[in-house]
């Protein structure tokens, strides 16, 4: 689906979303009349210091206005912008700022929903879609942790070896299904049905606790994370 088709299907009652430099920010009318805040990245744009601050500011503005309408995060991005300037200026703080705003929104009763409709990777992924309460995918979405050439540089394995491993190892390999197995993606939506209904259904299944590790255990992609976290939580709670 194109972004226009997605927006039309998600918000048939209208939206007012600015699209500049690969960034989305604005608002949209939900079923029932509530006005959701919308941010996002389109056209596989990289997310750097300037973009992260702009999106973060939009989230905080929405929080300041109050209410309990959702915050929707639409993502088709590159990775974080890889440049000397971004690192010099402290990109980690800018991306964390955006993520903190989204997580705080959820904690303050503004459900956050990430919709992954294209590509995303690495820090841009963590700061946007993975900072939401619920992340859903559309068919064809392509999340990845890092591109294979960079992985090859870091792991000192050849691109050929990594490509081979990617075919056989879900926990390592890019792609929506592999990420879903770890619990990172709740569900994949059906583009032939109205997205507004599917959004409403997801919002109705309110679970404010982070259950992604439990989901990853259920689906077999992360066999140990949920149990280890719970064991440590219990021990630390007793000790504290």
């Amino acid at each position: 689906m194109t972004l226009d088709e997605i927006l039309q299907s998600l918000f048939p009652d209208g939206h007012d979303i600015a699209r500049t430099d690969g960034l989305l920010s604005g608002s949209a009318t939900m079923k029932g009349g509530a006005v959701a805040a919308v941010i996002g990245v389109e056209g596989r744009a990289p997310l750097g210091v300037d973009g992260a601050l702009k999106l973060g500011g939009h989230v905080l503005d929405a929080l300041e206005r109050g209410g309990d309408a959702p915050v929707i995060v639409l993502v088709d991005s590159d990775s974080q912008r890889m440049s000397k300037r971004d690192e010099l200026l402290g990109l980690n703080e800018f991306l964390a700022h955006l993520a903190k705003g989204l997580i705080l929104a959820d904690l303050r009763g503004r459900p956050t929903v990430g919709i992954l409709y294209g590509h995303t990777a690495a820090g841009a992924f963590i700061a946007t879609a993975l900072a939401t309460r619920v992340l859903v995918g559309l068919p064809g979405a392509e999340p990845e942790v890092m591109d294979l050439p960079s992985m090859a540089r870091v792991t000192k394995l050849s691109v050929e070896v990594l490509t081979e491993k990617a075919r056989s190892t879900p926990v390592f390999a890019p792609g929506l299904d592999n990420l879903a197995r770890t619990g990172g993606v709740l569900e994949t939506w059906d583009p032939s049905k109205p997205l507004a209904d599917q959004l409403a259904a997801v919002l109705g299944r309110a679970d404010t606790r982070d259950r992604r590790d439990a989901l990853g255990k259920e689906r077999g992609g992360r066999p140990k994370a949920a149990d280890i976290a719970e064991r440590v939580r219990e021990l630390a709670t007793r000790a504290g």
């Binding site: 000397k84 990109l91 963590i126 942790v145 870091v154 592999n178 994370a225 630390a236």
Partner: protein, 312 residues
């Protein structure tokens, strides 16, 4: 202990043990009050990574993460330490889940501070999806804990620095203490070079790498709240000090951070090099900063770096 660099001595017995050279366990043991540390799900439980075998890589019984409880200056704390010498301190499934569990306990307890001793290159790429999710869960848990009133401090001074998703987690902490060796960033120099070419960032130009991502730059630009000499004692003093000064995460905190980062972009967004940033910051001899001893640098930073309390 044979690999430690003995520096000066002090009454605490920690002496001038180098933070950079110490292992994760040594850092924790020497940072906290003597004999106070209890580890949770320690190496005797042999909770190794379920994924490294696929790559024929060695496992470690603690998966490179030490978590537990102890006291600091008499007050209860929860503590987590990454072992930078195992897989570059990278976040894998088990490694990350220990920290997630610790932070969730802190959230539930609402008052016990958490110290995170970062030493990481980011996501462990051999279990990339699990590591990426672990980072996301940790960030969520940090914000939940801080929102509940918990102080979460990050200490950065290990050999792997604090990169990738580790840099984003650091950016979620209440406050950071950093040493000169404590490099903080998202994209490591090698990754930028691989993607954008050596003209964009020459990863072999060590002075460039250090002044762009190193602890002194982070302190001067406001990315860290305190600068520590490379000793366990110095990090302990910073941690005790920062615990007294931080408050909960609120909408106002993030509003203040928005303004702080906006001002940074406006003032320094056109700078081509860290030395230009430092000069604009008011440092008279920017070229001398990398060579300044810790005491002199701390005095300088105290004069020119902006306070960032309740803006992080």
């Amino acid at each position: 202990m044979s690999d430690l660099t003995p520096g000066g001595t002090s009454e605490s017995g920690r002496g001038g043990v180098s933070w950079y050279e110490a292992s994760a366990r040594q850092r924790v043991r020497l940072l906290l009050d003597a004999g106070s540390f209890t580890e949770f799900v320690g190496p005797e439980q042999r909770e190794t990574s379920p994924h490294l075998q696929v790559f024929d890589l060695p496992e470690q019984f603690d998966d490179g993460m030490v978590v537990g409880a102890g006291t600091l200056g008499g007050g209860a704390v929860l503590v987590a330490a990454q072992e930078g010498r195992f897989m570059g301190g990278a976040f894998g499934e088990v490694h990350g889940a220990k920290l997630t569990g610790l932070l969730r306990a802190a959230r539930d307890l609402t008052s016990t501070p958490v110290l995170i001793l970062f030493d990481t290159g980011g996501v462990r790429l051999q279990e990339a999806n699990a590591g990426e999710l672990a980072i996301a869960e940790i960030m969520r848990a940090v914000v939940e804990a801080r929102h509940a009133g918990v102080t979460v401090l990050g200490l950065v001074g290990g050999r792997s620095g604090c990169f990738g998703g580790g840099g984003l987690i650091a950016g979620c902490c209440s406050a950071l203490a950093v040493s000169e060796q404590g490099r903080i960033g998202v994209s490591g120099p090698e990754v930028i070079e691989t993607n954008r070419g050596v003209e964009e960032f020459d990863s072999k130009d060590r002075p460039l790498v250090w002044r762009t991502t190193g602890g002194k730059h982070r302190r001067l630009i406001g990315g860290a709240d305190a600068f520590a000499d490379d000793t366990v004692d110095a990090f302990r003093a910073c941690a005790l000090d920062l615990l007294r000064t931080t408050g909960p995460l609120t909408l106002d905190t993030l509003r203040n951070e928005q303004a702080r980062l906006r001002e940074r972009l406006d003032r320094f967004g056109a700078c081509a090099d860290a030395r230009d940033v430092w000069a604009k910051r008011g440092v008279d001899d920017a070229g001398a900063v990398p060579g300044l001893p810790a005491d002199d640098f701390i005095a300088l930073a105290g004069r020119v770096a902006e306070p960032s309390h309740d803006a992080r």
